[in-house]
C-alpha cells in the first residue's frame, strides 16, 4: 500500500522541483496523403492531421488533471515533408504552401508545435529535398508552429557536405527573414547527424518512415528532481552519486510511462517510446547546468564538466531504461544554452564557450543547441560549425544536432530574448578564423570505417 511519505515525495517533486511530462507527441504518417496535385495533397494532409490528433490536447489535459502531473506540451510530428511533397511540389514555393497547411492543422487541433518539415539527405539530395531545404527560411518566417529539421549525415552514409554548405546559407537566411523577432526562426530549425525516427522533442521531431501510421511518444523531464536528490548526497562517493541519479531517473521515467500508456489507451493510438531526457527550461531550478554544479563543477564549462555530463547521461539512461518497456528518441541530458538558466549564467561568467559545448556534445544526447552567435558570422563558418558537430555524431555513432541562432544586428556583449520555453541567451563569440576553402569543397565525406559491419 502506498504510504504518506511516498505520496509526499511525488507531490513535492511536482510542486517544488518542476517534475513534469515535457511532451506527448503524436507521430502521424502522411505517406497515404501523397498526391501529384498540390491542392489535393494539402487537403489530405490537413484532414489526416486534424482527424488523428483531434482529441490530443483534451486527452492530455484530462490526464494532467486526474494524475496531478503537468503535461507541458502536446505536439505532432509528421513524415518528412520533402518526401510527402515530392510528387506535387515543383518549386520551393510549393513546399511553403505545405508548411502553411501544417501550421493551420496545428492551430486547429491546438498543439503548440508540429515537426517534420524535414528532409533526410545524409547521402544525397533529390531535387525535391533541395526545394524543401531552400524553402525553409520562408516557411519558418511565414508560419508560427512549424518546426524544421534536416538530417545531413549518418554513421552509415557519411556527411553530405553539399547539404551542410547549403544549410549554412539557409540558417543565415532564416535568421535574416525573422530578424524583426531576434531571428527566432532559427530556433525552429535543427540540423542532424543520425537523426532518430521517433524523437518526440521539438524542434527536431519527425515521424520516420519506419514507424506505424500513428504512434504516441512521450518525452519526460525532471532536471530539478535530479538536482534536489543530488543535494542530499554532497561529498559522497561516485557510487552513491550514480545510484542517486539512477533511482531518480527511474521514478521520473515511470511517470512518463504511465502517461504514455494512458494517452495511448484513451486515444486508441499505439504507444511508441519514452524519451528519457533531462530537458531543462528557463525556470529557476529546472536546469541541467545546476546538476553539473551539484556534481561538483563551479560552473558548467569548468574542467571536469565533460566527465560529469558523461556520467549524468549514462546514469539517466541506466535508471530510465528499466522503467519503460520501450525507450527511444534522443534519451539523455539536453544542454541547450538559452533554455537553461544555469548555462546562461555559465556563459555570462565566462566559464562556458562554444568549443567546450562542442566537447560536451560528444558525451550527451544532443548537440549545439539554442546557441546565439553574432549575426555577422560568415555562412561558411556556420557550415563549418555544423560540419564539426556532424563529424562527432558520425564517428561516435550517436545523434548530434545543431540549432544555432545568428542574431541579425546583434553582436558579442548583447543578448537576445526569445520568451517562454525558449528563454534568453547571451550572444557567444565564434572562432574568427576562416574555413571557406574546406566547406566549399563539393560532395560528401565518406562513411567511417567502423560503419562497415555487414
Amino acid at each position: 500500500m502506498i504510504n504518506l511519505y511516498e505520496v509526499n515525495e511525488t507531490n513535492k517533486m511536482i510542486e517544488q522541483e518542476n517534475l513534469d511530462v515535457r511532451t506527448i507527441t503524436i507521430g502521424i504518417s502522411l505517406l497515404d496523403c501523397m498526391d501529384a496535385d498540390l491542392d489535393r495533397l494539402c487537403d489530405k494532409v490537413y484532414d489526416k492531421i486534424t482527424t488523428v490528433a483531434k482529441d490530443l490536447v483534451q486527452t492530455g489535459a484530462d490526464i494532467e488533471k486526474e494524475f496531478g502531473i503537468p503535461i507541458v506540451n502536446k505536439r505532432i510530428s509528421v513524415t518528412p515533408i520533402a518526401m510527402i511533397g515530392a510528387a506535387a511540389c515543383r518549386s520551393a514555393q510549393d513546399y511553403v504552401r505545405l508548411a502553411k497547411t501544417l501550421d493551420q492543422a496545428a492551430a486547429t487541433v491546438g498543439v503548440n508545435f508540429i515537426g517534420g518539415y524535414s528532409a533526410l539527405v545524409s547521402k544525397g539530395m533529390t531535387t525535391q529535398d533541395e526545394y524543401l531545404i531552400r524553402s525553409i527560411p520562408e516557411a519558418l518566417s511565414a508560419t508560427n508552429n512549424v518546426c524544421s529539421s534536416v538530417n545531413v549525415g549518418s554513421t552509415k552514409h557519411g556527411i553530405n557536405m553539399d547539404a551542410v554548405r547549403l544549410l549554412g546559407d539557409v540558417i543565415h537566411d532564416t535568421a535574416e527573414q525573422t530578424k524583426e523577432a531576434d531571428s527566432i526562426g532559427c530556433a525552429k530549425l535543427v540540423v542532424f547527424c543520425n537523426a532518430p525516427d521517433d524523437n518526440p522533442f521539438m524542434a527536431g521531431a519527425f515521424h520516420g518512415v519506419s514507424e506505424a501510421d500513428a504512434v504516441i511518444h512521450v518525452g519526460v523531464s525532471g532536471p530539478g528532481v535530479v538536482k534536489t536528490a543530488l543535494s542530499q548526497v554532497r561529498g559522497e562517493s561516485f557510487e552513491v552519486l550514480c545510484e542517486t541519479i539512477k533511482k531518480t531517473a527511474f521514478k521520473v521515467t515511470r511517470v512518463g510511462q504511465l502517461v504514455a500508456k494512458e494517452a495511448s489507451k484513451r486515444l486508441s493510438i499505439p504507444f511508441g517510446i519514452i524519451d528519457l531526457s533531462l530537458a531543462p527550461t528557463p525556470a529557476i531550478g529546472d536546469s541541467v547546468a545546476d546538476i553539473l554544479h551539484e556534481i561538483g563543477v563551479e560552473y558548467a564549462g569548468a574542467p571536469g564538466t565533460t566527465a560529469a555530463l558523461a556520467l549524468l547521461n549514462d546514469q539517466v539512461k541506466k535508471g530510465g531504461i528499466m522503467a519503460s518497456s520501450y525507450v527511444g528518441g534522443l534519451s539523455g541530458a539536453f544542454i541547450p544554452v538559452s533554455e537553461d538558466q544555469g548555462m546562461i549564467d555559465a556563459v555570462e561568467a565566462g566559464a562556458l564557450t562554444l568549443e567546450k559545448l562542442e566537447a560536451m556534445t560528444c558525451v550527451c544526447s544532443v548537440g549545439l543547441d539554442m546557441i546565439a552567435i553574432p549575426g555577422d558570422t560568415p555562412v561558411t563558418t556556420i557550415a563549418g560549425i555544423v560540419a564539426d558537430e556532424m563529424a562527432i555524431g558520425m564517428i561516435n555513432q550517436k545523434t548530434t544536432a545543431v540549432r544555432l541562432i545568428p542574431v541579425i544586428g546583434k553582436g558579442i556583449g548583447e543578448s537576445v530574448e526569445f520568451g517562454g520555453l525558449l528563454g534568453y541567451a547571451p550572444i557567444m563569440p565564434v572562432n574568427s578564423f576562416g574555413c571557406a576553402d574546406f566547406v566549399n569543397r563539393t560532395g560528401r565525406i565518406p562513411a567511417p570505417v567502423h560503419s562497415f559491419k555487414n
Binding site: 509526499n8 515525495e9 511525488t10 494524475f67 496531478g68 502531473i69 521514478k251 504511465l258
Partner: protein, 91 residues
C-alpha cells in the same frame, strides 16, 4: 469509477478537518480504505486512499468539490488517481 484515488490534505491544523472531508466522502458514498496523518509544528498533512466505486460522481466534480471543502477550512485538498504513486514507487 473503479480505481483508487489518493486524497491529500495539507495546511494549518484546525478543528474538524478529517470530519469535514469524511462527511463529504460519506455523503457521496465513497469508502475510505486507509488514512495516515501527521502534524508537525501545527502543520497538518494527511493522505487518504479512497474507493469511489459506488459513487455516481465524475472524477472532475469530486476533485472540484473536495477542493471547495478544503477552501472552506483553509487547507489544500488534492485528488489524484493512485497509479501515479504506484508507478513511481513500486517496481
Amino acid at each position: 469509477m473503479e480505481d483508487k484515488i489518493i486524497v491529500t490534505v495539507v495546511g494549518k491544523d484546525t478543528v474538524g478537518i478529517i470530519a469535514k472531508i469524511c462527511t463529504y466522502l460519506a455523503n457521496n458514498r465513497i469508502n475510505v480504505s486507509d488514512i495516515s496523518q501527521t502534524i508537525t509544528g501545527g502543520f497538518f498533512n494527511m493522505m487518504m486512499i479512497v474507493e469511489p466505486n459506488e459513487t455516481e460522481k465524475p472524477f472532475d466534480d469530486l476533485q472540484r468539490e473536495l477542493g471547495q471543502v478544503g477552501e472552506e477550512i483553509g487547507v489544500d485538498v488534492r485528488c489524484q488517481r493512485s497509479e501515479i504513486f504506484e508507478m513511481m514507487h513500486r517496481v
